[in-house]
Amino acid sequence: MTILVVIEHDNNTIKQSSLSTISAAKKIEDNVEAIILGKDMNSAVNDLKKCDHLKKIYTVDDKMFENPIAENLSSAIAKFIDGKDFSHILSPSTTFGKNMSPKLSALLDVQQISDITNIISSDTFERPIYAGNAIAKVRSNDKVKVITVRPTCFEPCGKNSEIDSQELVLDIDVNGNVSFVKYDQSKSDRPELTSAKIVISGGRGMQNGDNFRLLEGIADKLGAAMGASRAAVDAGFVPNDWQVGQTGKIVAPDLYIAVGISGAIQHIAGIKDSKFIACINKDEEAPIFNFSDYGLVGDLFEVLPQLEEKL
């Protein structure tokens, strides 16, 4: 068995999601190889070469991979694996992997196993369904297993190695029916939401975007990432990519602090693997208290300044 990991990166560094996916691959089987497609990605490749567990690295450097267009990525990877003997193809279940990996599964005529959280054996995996309110143990009967991996469920691999990479030229046509227009990256000096040790999120209870400043002071002191409930994002308080939950980002920090968030199942789905959960809510009946290790009943406008001061 040989496993291929598709690497997510931004041409400069490889994403933490890829490090976790490599660890998941290693849990299935020792023979792990990686493919990285991009443009002018020397530093990303150097980063990848340090990753533990990899036996081989394939790089594809071409203008068409400057931006992660799923059509081009999936045809290139399908072309690469054609005639080879990969048993598993793993991608992170981030928007990158979710966009591209099912296309690969369709090209190979196999049923993808989405968002695995645990590996039982080389063909049997656990994955959450119904927003994580149930966990399905599934066995795949397909010859090649195309899988997306929930990054927060696997420790990122170390970076203590040094292996060579092999450059590939894949002769494929650029898909003419899709083109990249622009990418508005939400800028932040804070740690990434999905890999931060501490996350502090605000909900509808914050009332407006300005009030998120009350959380910022605390985030600064804790070195925390900032997140939000869907209600806060929908109301335009904060950017879309702050949304935590079933259909937003899944986080699993050491500490998650929910402020003015009621604790709807869709929100809980994104936080329940956190080591500790603390919440601040003025309604003592709010469901969030059932999921919190430490719950503080109180008005966030009084509590937050006190908390900032005490930290």
Binding site: N67, I69, A70, S93, T94, T95, F96, K98, N99, P102, K103, S105, L107, D109, V110, Q111, Q112, S114, I129, Y130, A131, G132, N133, A134, I135, A136, K137, R139, S140, N141, N177, V178, V181, K182, Y183, D184, Q185, S186, I198, D241, Q246, T247, D254, L255, I265, Q266, K272, F276, A278, N290, F291, S292, D293, Y294, G295, L296, G298, L307, K310, L311
Partner: protein, 251 residues
Amino acid sequence: MKALVCVKRVIDYNVKIRVKADKTGVETENVKMSMNPFDEIAVEEAVRMKEKGLIDEIIVLSIGTDKSQETIRSGLAMGGDRGILVKTDNEQIEPLNVGKIIQTICKKESPDMVILGKQAIDDDCNQTGQIVATLLGYPQATFASEVKKNDDNTIDVTREVDGGLETIRIAIPCVITTDLRLNEPRYASLPNIMKAKQKKIEVVEIQTFGIDIKNRLDILEVNEPPERKPGIKVQDVESLVNKLKNEAKIL
């Protein structure tokens, strides 16, 4: 232009899920079912495009048991023109096979745009749109938060991706999957619900497709997620900080 909108009947998002005692799945008896919320957004987007004169006909498609007719009917009440039910006995057909069925329907109907939800909130697979696009060779725009038709035969789609917002331009025919902020679905008015009863739903038996719909994944068991151990309420900020420092040892 013609739009095909795919709608799945799922357990309503407000229902508290119960895992069956024999671990074969979750309880669906006497449980409220609704249209998958992302599919409501898909229907709404098609209806808005029709109201702007960009689309002439909206077909609402579901693959499922007879009961999925209700789901299609809700889509018609929101503004769909006609429905297609691909009827099966199997409640849970896997995305790959759903994709193949949608592909076959597309060959017959030749829609300019196939709109699906980004994710069904029962299986949480997030695959079907991408599979349909691949099988048909149409470009895809997943996780759409804004869809803008250009004067030529292209569409600009803003996509919700992990680090922000990405915009891509795709040629028609195409596949779009909806994210939460694309629009806010309307409630069907009573007159429209009445009108929808007259709209046609074509029922096709799945056997006629000649597609092997056998599942590729065996569900060995379905379990309750591990419970979090019950927490406590703290009296004030001071004791919260104390707990975080001394008990959780995080600060």
